[in-house]
């Protein structure tokens, strides 16, 4: 264990050699940076994991049922569990997906659920990511490297092996594949922020890495065109291109990244898309408020995992509370992602605070407000030694035709500045491995 901590630099050098990078667009320019790795893992006990696993699987099953309902019967609206304007005004709701039932009725095949742990040990879900959540490749490759650099750490501690992620992903793709054709990972290209992940997962799952222009729809089926324009039938596409650029015939007409008429092949059941288009309606920051109710509605069970205490200014009672307590809340713009559009009331100067309140009054549907959770800080190495930093956990939940499985690991992201709560890699955070322990005998002590 200590040998692992001492080899922080070695691990980071290996990551650099493997090209483990994260791209960032800022002020119109593209810059790639290393994703700094911290050798002290987040450690999760078997009991804690058991609780998280049950809660995550339950949550994702409910979200999948919600998506099938929204693009199908709409019973949750008819029964007044969720106000219809929250659905239809959501940017993530795509009427183009109405009536499409994806293979086996699964919409969110690869879900990334962001959680934080409070000081008292209570876990809260902060966000569901059901569109194209990235990040699984980072702890995956970090584990591979740390096992090389410090093998004794892994023989002394009974840690669940997380190197089965490509196997789980492959199993999900195979179970969705509609015709025995190719499994494809469809990337927007090397300037995408998560390109490393796309290429690594393609390699590790035995999928074909396809770039824009490699896929073509003919006779309502999708084909991969090789360099000599030979065509191979495609059965499942793990696409890392976002909905609005996926098919220029149906969505953004100027998209050069998309595959023309892909949506028609998908609607006809001639190809599986992972994840399904239109999932944004379920991971919308506004809809988040309703997820525990979805669990009760669809599964008839109490939600195991809690949301962070959230207010919807859309409801008058909540709006009054939010306007009276803006200073102590986190305000989030529901249409933004990746740590953008998140404001801490206490950081705002008076006039900006007033402006924000005015916006909350005039466009209540656009905002949610949350209590600031007192995160449990995690031990993190910096040049001077161990320091404490805010961190979250992105858990990956894979849904196949048969079951919903939680990967026994996850991406732990931490803020690099002492006072920061924002851990997103697009905002310069670092990451840690996440160890799920198999038993108690080997729980590592503090550093």
């Amino acid at each position: 264990m200590y040998s692992l901590v001492e080899s922080r630099e070695a691990v980071n050098n290996w990551l650099e050699r493997y090209g483990v990078r994260f791209g960032i667009y800022k002020n119109g320019t593209f810059r790639e940076q290393l994703f700094p790795f911290d050798p002290i893992p987040r450690v999760i006990t078997p009991e804690e994991w058991d609780y998280l696993e049950k809660g995550l699987s339950q949550r994702v099953r409910a979200l999948n049922l919600f998506l099938a309902d929204i693009y199908g019967e709409k019973n949750i609206i008819k029964n007044n569990i969720v106000p219809k304007s929250f659905i239809y005004a959501s940017k993530g709701y795509l009427p183009q997906c109405e009536g499409i039932r994806p293979p086996h009725g699964v919409f969110a095949h690869i879900a990334g659920i962001d959680l934080v742990q409070a000081r008292d040990g209570q876990w809260f879900v902060l966000e569901d990511n059901l569109r194209i959540p990235s990040g699984a490749s980072y702890p995956l490759i970090a584990r591979t490297i740390t096992r090389k650099v410090s093998p004794e750490t892994f023989s002394a501690n009974h840690i669940e092996d997380n190197r089965n992620y490509p196997g789980l992903l492959r199993r999900t793709m195979d179970s969705m594949n509609v015709n025995g054709g190719l499994n494809v990972i469809f990337t927007p290209g090397r300037y995408n922020s998560a390109f490393f992940e796309h290429s690594y997962l393609a390699e590790r799952t035995g999928s074909v890495l396809a770039f824009p222009g490699d896929l073509v729809v003919e006779d309502n089926h999708v084909y991969y065109q090789g360099i000599f324009h030979e065509k191979t039938l495609v059965g499942a596409i793990y696409r890392r291109v976002s909905d609005e650029y996926l098919d220029p015939m149906v969505f953004e007409p100027t998209s050069l990244l998309g595959v023309p008429n892909l949506m028609q092949a998908y609607a006809a059941g001639n190809v599986a898309l992972l994840n399904s288009p239109g999932n944004g309606v379920a991971d919308d920051k506004g809809l988040y408020y309703f997820v525990p109710r979805m669990v009760e509605y669809y599964l008839g069970e109490k939600a195991i995992l809690q949301n962070a205490p959230t207010y919807l200014p859309y409801y008058e009672e909540d709006r009054e509370y939010v306007l009276a307590n803006t200073e102590k809340l986190v305000i989030k713009d529901v249409s933004e992602a990746g740590g953008y559009g998140v404001v801490f009331g206490r950081d705002l100067e008076r006039d900006r605070l007033e402006k924000l309140k005015e916006l909350i009054r005039t466009e209540p549907r656009r905002w949610i407000a949350q209590e600031v959770i007192n995160f449990k800080d995690l031990e993190t190495m910096d040049e001077r030694g161990v320091v404490y930093r805010k961190a979250d956990l992105r858990a990956f939940v894979l849904s196949s035709a048969e079951d919903t499985v939680v990967w026994k690991s996850g991406l732990t992201r931490f803020a690099r500045q002492a006072d920061s709560f924002v851990v997103n890699s697009s905002q310069g955070g670092g990451f840690k491995d996440t160890w799920v322990m198999r038993d108690h005998q080997s729980l590592p002590k503090s550093f």
Binding site: I77, K84, S85, I87, Y88, A89, Y93, L94, P95, Q96, C97, E98, G99, I100, V216, V217, E218, D219, N220, P248, M249, V250, P253, P260, N261, Q264, A267, A268
Partner: protein, 272 residues
């Protein structure tokens, strides 16, 4: 009951050959309670550089709004792409019994009203609380008065607007074509809490595709034509509907090549 024959004929001539051409069409009449399609057929042909023409395979599907779609792909280089859709439809007066999907009350980029249009709408129809039940005919009256107001406010001018012109832009300049008239009326209706959607198709006497508005009242969708200031009954061959024009283009295509395009379009609708 009346019967109409229609013929839609469109072609795109490319100045230099294009290839890898994917296309998506909405050129077949929708089957609706007021509109029965009979012997409708369509064909897509491409012409190659040597002058030979070939029909190409067409896949049939449906979009999220229930519109019939025709799609396909031509890999080979070609210089002309042409579509013929023809047949007869039987119509009863334009009414569609059903429900109003919640999306037809929400703004889209093309149909956002803005403050000027909201006050215009208030002038011409007092805002009604969404939940209160209205005396029979009140929604119809409001819709008709808004339709006349739009017709009076706008002048029909071609060439000043494009497919990306928003309702608000068209309203502020007061000029546009049927698509702009429809967007303006949709924005006004929705701002009054009346579900409204964009509809398009073929109209007798018109040389081009026409756009109009459907609004929902007491379990029935009816059609208003703000360009001609009237409630539609017969003679509009409905092809598609959606939240706005971006949901129902007749022809969308993507190809490889830098050719200039020359379009021709002939539409004929006749009562038989």
């Amino acid at each position: 009951m009346k019967q109409f024959s229609y013929r839609y004929e469109s072609s795109i001539r490319f100045s230099t050959p294009v290839s890898a051409h994917s296309w998506l069409l909405r050129c077949m009449p929708r089957t609706e309670p007021f509109q029965l399609t009979q012997q409708c057929r369509m064909q897509v042909c491409v012409t190659f550089g040597d002058g030979t023409s070939l029909p190409v395979p067409v896949s049939h599907g449906r979009d999220g709004f229930g519109n019939a779609l025709q799609t396909g792909h031509v890999a080979r280089e070609h210089v002309c792409f042409s579509i013929i859709s023809e047949g007869t439809v039987r119509q009863t007066p334009y009414r569609i019994c059903g429900t109003a999907h919640g999306m037809y009350l929400e703004d889209t980029v093309l149909t956002q009203a803005g403050p000027e249009m909201e006050s215009f709408a208030r002038q011409h129809c007092r805002r009604m609380p969404v939940s209160c039940s209205l005396p029979h005919g009140a929604v119809l009256d409001r819709a008709l008065s808004l339709c006349s107001a739009v017709h009076g406010h706008m002048s029909y001018v071609t060439g000043v607007t494009t497919v990306t012109t928003t309702a608000r832009q068209a309203f502020l300049t007061g000029q546009g074509v049927c698509q702009d008239y429809a967007h303006v009326l949709i924005a006004l209706l929705r701002s009054c809490g009346i579900p409204a959607r964009y509809a398009c198709g073929y109209l007798s006497g018109e040389g081009a595709t026409h756009a109009w508005v459907e609004f929902f009242d007491e379990g029935v969708w009816r059609a208003l034509d703000p360009t001609n200031d009237r409630l539609l009954n017969y003679g509009c061959i409905k092809v598609a509907h959606g939240r706005d024009s971006a949901d129902c283009p007749v022809n969308r295509g993507v190809f490889t090549g830098t050719a200039a395009q020359q379009n021709t379009l002939v539409i004929k609708v006749e009562e038989v």
